[in-house]
């Protein structure tokens, strides 16, 4: 069946078939010393990289169009139909801009930071199950690994902020560190709710477990356990919003106070790495929330058994996941153009006094719900 697919999709789908004794190393390198599976893993990552760098193109366009419409403007509409190619033009512009490293910057760390941030994000992309078999690395530890990779982002940001040798960059980095470390708590707890509901860490198995049910949505976590999983979903969404440094949590790059925070000194292609990371991680965290709470690739109102198995079904499933994630990304954009940036004390208040207790209540409630 795989041979019937176009090559890229075949690589995409060839990964991630279940087994008993699985480990990340064996997933990537094959048991023993399989260079072949290593090569296919590299190709898988290449596909993921392409997806991860194509999405920001779409999202920057969406962001600018949506923000335009919310402000009764039109947004970009000159380059290509509906201005769709605008982001490509901007990307090309960024590539050809001068790459400046400030004289007093820490050259090595300055150059390393954007790459670190981007690499972590792309690695995390490999863990998203787009459909039952379209997943680059189906790690049994999926969610946990994803949380680890998300928590790695902060290091790149702090590195960038420190290496820039600029007070605004440093302040932005400090805020980022404080914010990330704080919001990891509610985020982790909410992810735990998904984990203990499905008693698996694998995002793929979670999505599988959410198939069928009433109208094929009944098994989605927010409908299966509406009392606790829905607030948990909201808390997770807010925490992920903070994790991606999106407004109203964009304190690390608050342009009205910190110029542009940790990437003040960055220009050209290095800046575009940060930019890429921000927009790609919007999709990443949305996809994470979708896989856990909104039924992953399962199509609403259409029983999974009807469309399982064929290549078309896999592609349809991937599209469904992408559409669901886009919906969450749209809400992110919507929130950004609705809410003003909140103060750092409000950020901390929200995290420690509101989100964390709610998350704990939801966790305990979910325990009761599942043991009921």
């Amino acid at each position: 069946m795989i041979s019937a697919l176009p090559p890229a999709a075949a690589i995409f789908l060839a990964q991630g078939t279940g087994g008993e004794s699985r480990s990340l190393f064996r997933d990537l390198f094959g048991a023993g010393s399989g260079w072949g599976s290593f090569a296919s893993a590299v190709l898988g990552f290449a596909v993921v990289f392409a997806v991860a760098s194509a999405l920001p193109v779409l999202f920057t366009w969406a962001e600018r169009r949506v923000s335009g419409r919310m402000q009764q403007r039109r947004g970009p509409n000159r380059v290509g139909p509906f201005g769709l190619v605008q982001a490509v033009a901007d990307g090309v512009k960024l590539m050809f801009k001068e790459d400046i490293i400030p004289a007093n910057a820490e050259r090595f760390l300055f150059a390393l930071a954007p790459g670190l941030v981007l690499a972590g994000m792309i690695a995390a992309f490999a863990l998203i199950p787009f459909s039952e078999r379209a997943i680059v690395v189906d790690a049994p530890l999926g969610v946990y690994l994803l949380a680890a990779l998300l928590s790695l982002q902060v290091l790149g940001v702090v590195m960038a902020g420190w290496a820039s040798n600029n007070k605004w960059s440093l302040l932005g980095a400090m805020r980022e560190a404080a914010q990330m470390v704080s919001y990891e708590i509610p985020m982790g707890i909410c992810l735990l709710i998904g984990v203990l509901s499905f008693s698996t860490l694998s995002l793929r198995e979670m999505s599988l477990a959410q198939a069928d049910g009433w109208l094929n949505v009944g098994n989605w976590l927010i409908f299966r356990n509406p009392l606790f999983a829905f607030p948990a979903f909201v808390v997770l969404y807010v925490a992920l919003l903070a994790n991606t440094k999106r407004a109203p949590f964009d304190l690390p790059e608050a342009e009205s106070e910190l110029v542009s925070g940790f990437h003040t000194e960055y220009s050209g292609i290095r800046f575009s790495f940060f930019f890429l990371e921000e927009y790609a991680s919007m999709f990443l965290v949305s996809a994470l929330a979708v896989c856990m709470f909104l039924g992953g690739w399962n199509i609403p109102f259409l029983p999974g058994s009807v469309v399982t198995g064929s290549v078309g079904a896999e592609i349809l499933a991937a599209l469904v996941l992408i559409v669901k994630s886009f919906a969450l990304v749209f809400v992110m954009i919507w929130l950004r153009w609705t809410l003003p940036r909140i103060r750092i004390d409000q950020v901390m208040n929200l995290c420690y006094k509101y989100l964390t207790p709610i998350a704990f209540v939801c966790l305990i409630g979910t325990c009761w719900w599942e043991l009921r």
């Binding site: 480990s23 023993g32 290091l155």
Partner: protein, 173 residues
């Protein structure tokens, strides 16, 4: 050369280089980033050895947590201009040599392969490990008591931190 050996060598280089940077750098921030590299290398070793759970935990706890807090602390602290006294170096040297001896003894006393997973003695991996770890934590016969003691310790630390943070300000909110 198999992928495992190559991965081992790369990881070993990264770990040792990170350690060297941690020790020898004149900037504390560089030390922290060196530590990050070293810890990531160790996490890579865990992956190589087939214990993904441990590797991810290493990343979450040490790289994503401890190093970030180090960096946070380092950035808030003024640089230490104190001279390196002979006494301090001597004390550090004694500990280093002792640790080295223990390590070398462990390395030379080791059986089986020096890299990667021994096919005969590979650990259970993936989801099974998590289940085992979880069961072990909740098992009266196994680690329930240490687990609970650790939880209480963390709770005490948390309460203490809150207490210290609130003592000076007195304003509350």
């Amino acid at each position: 050369m198999s992928a495992e050996i190559l991965a081992f060598l790369v990881l070993a280089t990264a770990t040792v280089a990170g350690g060297v940077v941690t020790l020898w750098s004149r900037y504390v921030v560089h030390s922290a980033f060196g530590l990050m590299l070293s810890l990531l290398g160790v996490a890579g070793f865990y992956v190589l050895l087939g214990s993904d759970f441990l590797a991810v935990t290493q990343v979450v706890v040490y790289v994503g947590g401890v190093v970030v807090l180090y960096l946070f602390g380092v950035m808030l602290t003024p640089p230490d201009r104190e001279e390196r006294s002979i006494r301090r170096i001597a004390v550090a040297g004694i500990f280093a040599v002792a640790a080295l001896v223990v390590l070398l003894k462990a390395v030379f006393g080791m059986e089986g392969r020096w890299y990667g997973v021994d096919p005969d003695r590979g650990p259970a991996s993936g989801g099974a490990v998590i289940r085992e770890v979880g069961n072990a934590f909740m098992d009266k016969e196994a680690y329930l008591l240490p687990f609970e003691i650790a939880s209480v310790l963390l709770l005490v630390a948390l309460v203490g931190a809150v207490f210290i943070a609130r003592r000076e300000g007195g304003r509350g909110s």
